[in-house]
């Protein structure tokens, strides 16, 4: 069997249903085998989109997403997608063609040092130098990508290796001596944590993406209900706890709810679950939760005490540790005063916007939420659209919010939505976009149409790179430097590709347009021409304490 066939066999055994990618000179043998294979192949219009689609697929299914490109420019086009998956701990496998082994290092045509380039942005990477290693490498790659703290793994395969003959042996057992993630919490630490929890008067649970990747959604809810602690979450943690639950505080941090930021600042115990105290969450470090003890549950030891000093570190899988804690916490603390206080905060500082007669982006997101009954998968681009999608849609289920958290990649949402739809064909998938971001991967309409991938793109079109404009307004005296961005006629553009385009200019038309889009069995673009200078509030200025928010009402 030749290397290319070995690859396909391995992918099948790993349960791969779909590959996103783009062909080229150094992956011809692989594409020749894909031609005969049962695995679905989605040809994107740019390699970056293939990586994001694999990422979106992984986020909604919990499986490993797979993308493929040729060597050189094909591989470098994947880079943003790989870095994006790395920052958000998403398991993808990126397969890249490489020039033949005899040419490596010769500056051959379409050669790039892919393992060198991807080393700092992938969990691990391989250059396959010997055909005999290929099957084991693929098996290891899937294992590494999907276990521990998940992440992208790159496999760079020279074209001559793809052609070489080898006897196919599937490595049943895998033992990587240097890679043994810790899954269960240290019993002593669990006991200590339980004691802290029992004694706490003002606890808050702070949930991150780890809750979702470990599948701890149900246990987190049980745990929060048992100890009656309010729950706040990061952008990556959206959907990890039901937004409509009475204990929910919404998202915290730079554009979090004011009550979440106040609650965490006033708390005496933070139980961090699969979150990493990112700077967008903590704001100014020395003012972050000054009176709180911190329990930090994370599968990645290097996340613990990196930014914030932690009192009780617990390394392990969120799901296992929450279960261990549920067993260990015998008596729930009496914190009714605290809960009353938190309710007062919620009443005093609600998430709000000035709902005038004008077409407000927040209103559009609220209507999307109502129209889909909160049941859709929402992908976002990056910027204001992302923050409004995070604030105004109510996510009650895990793996329903697909957004570039760590890297903040404009152009992520649309291709990620394509991947999400491939992973969950029976769900409504919507990309909440901005007019800037959507233009970064807009070519993917063709991918949708050719493959009948029914994704709805709802553009909050304000004519600006809105988030940058907001910063220029607030911190650069309104000197709008290159943030006014022109767009094509999105309706005509959609139509030219064979999709449906709808334009909405009035508030009254919003719901009807959304309902219409949802009823059409095709890709739909809605161009919502929203208020141009609407800002995302609340907002914690960079480097400020998170309870010191700007709360403008535009």
């Amino acid at each position: 069997m030749i290397g290319a066939q070995v690859l396909i066999e391995c992918l099948k055994r790993e349960g791969v249903e779909v590959i996103f990618g783009y062909p080229g000179g150094q992956v011809l043998p692989i594409f020749d085998k894909i031609y005969d294979s049962d695995i679905k192949f989605i040809l994107t219009r740019h390699e970056q989109a293939a990586a994001h689609a694999a990422d979106g697929y992984a986020r909604v299914t919990g499986k490993v997403g797979v993308c493929i490109s040729t060597s050189g420019p094909g591989a470098t086009n994947l880079i943003t997608g790989i870095a994006n998956a790395y920052m958000d701990s998403i398991p993808i496998i990126a397969i890249t063609g490489q020039v033949k082994t005899s040419l490596i290092g010769n500056d051959a045509f379409q050669e790039a040092d892919v393992t060198g380039i991807t080393r700092p942005i992938s969990k691990y990477n391989y250059l396959v130098k010997n055909i005999k290693d290929l099957a084991l490498i693929i098996r290891e790659a899937f294992h590494i990508a999907s276990t521990g703290r998940p992440g992208p793994v790159v496999i760079d395969i020279p074209s001559d290796i793809q052609m070489k003959d080898v006897e196919f042996i599937w490595p049943e057992n895998l033992d990587i001596r240097s890679y043994k993630p810790t899954y269960y919490g240290h019993p002593g630490q669990i006991k200590k944590a339980a004691k802290f929890i029992t004694e706490a008067k003002k606890p808050v649970i702070y949930a991150g993406g780890g809750v979702i990747s470990s599948g701890a959604y149900i246990l987190l809810r049980e745990f929060a209900e048992k100890i009656q602690a309010p729950v706040t979450w990061t952008l990556m943690g959206i959907g990890g706890f039901p937004a409509t639950h009475p204990l929910s505080l919404g998202m915290l941090g730079m554009h979090g709810t004011a009550y979440a930021n106040h609650a965490i600042t006033d708390s005496d115990l933070i139980i961090a679950v699969g979150a990493r105290f990112d700077d967008r969450v903590t704001g100014r470090l020395d003012s972050f939760a000054p009176t709180a003890k911190i329990i930090h549950i994370d599968i990645d030891p290097s996340s613990i005490s990196k930014n914030i000093r932690v009192d009780i570190p617990i390394v392990g899988d969120a799901k296992n540790i929450l279960k261990e804690l549920l067993d260990e916490v015998k008596k729930s603390p009496d914190i009714s005063d605290w809960l009353k206080y938190v309710e007062e905060l919620k009443a005093k500082f609600p998430l709000r916007y000035a709902d005038s007669g004008k077409l407000k982006p927040q209103y559009v997101v609220e209507q999307i939420c109502e129209a889909t009954k909160g049941q859709a998968i929402i992908a976002t681009e990056v910027g204001q659209n992302q923050m409004w999608a995070a604030q105004w849609y109510k996510y009650d289920f895990p793996r329903t919010f697909v957004s570039s958290g760590g890297l903040g990649t404009m152009g992520f949402g649309f291709p990620a939505a394509i991947g999400a739809k491939m992973g969950c064909p029976n769900k409504t998938v919507i990309d909440i976009a901005g007019d800037g971001s959507i233009q970064m991967n807009i070519q993917e309409i063709a991918t949708c149409i050719c493959n009948k991938i029914d994704v709805k793109v709802m553009i909050l079109n304000n004519g600006y790179l809105g988030m940058v404009r907001q910063w220029q307004e607030l911190f650069y005296k309104r000197r709008y430097s290159h943030v006014c961005i022109s767009s094509p006629d999105f309706v005509k553009l959609a139509e030219s590709y064979g999709a449906v385009g709808i334009r909405v200019t009035k508030k009254e038309e919003v719901r009807q347009a959304i309902d219409k889009a949802l009823s059409i069995d095709n890709t739909v673009f809605i161009d919502f021409q929203v208020e141009p200078e609407e800002n995302v509030f609340p907002m914690v200025p960079a480097g400020e304490a998170i309870n010191r928010m700007i709360e403008g009402l535009a």
């Binding site: 691990y124 250059l127 001596r177 240097s178 030891p301 290097s302 613990i304 005490s305």
Partner: protein
Amino acid sequence: MASFMRHTISVLVENKFGVLARVAGLFSARGYNIASLAVSETLDPSVSYMTIVVEAEDEKILEQIKKQLNKLIDVITVTDFTKKEHVDRELVLVKVSCPKNEKDALDTLLSKYVAKIVRASGDSLVIEAVDEQDKIRQLLDALNKFGITELVRTGRIAMAY
């Protein structure tokens, strides 16, 4: 200017191509300073042993360095010698210029250290010394008055006992 503490760490890694680049890349990407780095095969040829002397501002950064090293897939174990009984050595080659009339003084000096002259050509001598870094430093200070013209050092290697 922040003051840096030097710490000796040993790292057992898979002996594969690219591993040194992963370790070096970790330090450069996160802005940690390497004072010295020595790598060699071990009794088991599939494993390499690295002794890394790192400069860390505080305990927290040292902790992060160790955690980040451990996180690398190819790293098998990380040992911090800061609070651990260990021996460490460094080998240096020093070229000095020593006129005949000072040769006796040089010999007397060298006799106090694990050091010897390994090559001589006219006034130019190459001295080899193996010792702990404190001792090496003392020796180099003393040799300065003879005029050091060239210096090569291996960096520290360390072993627990």
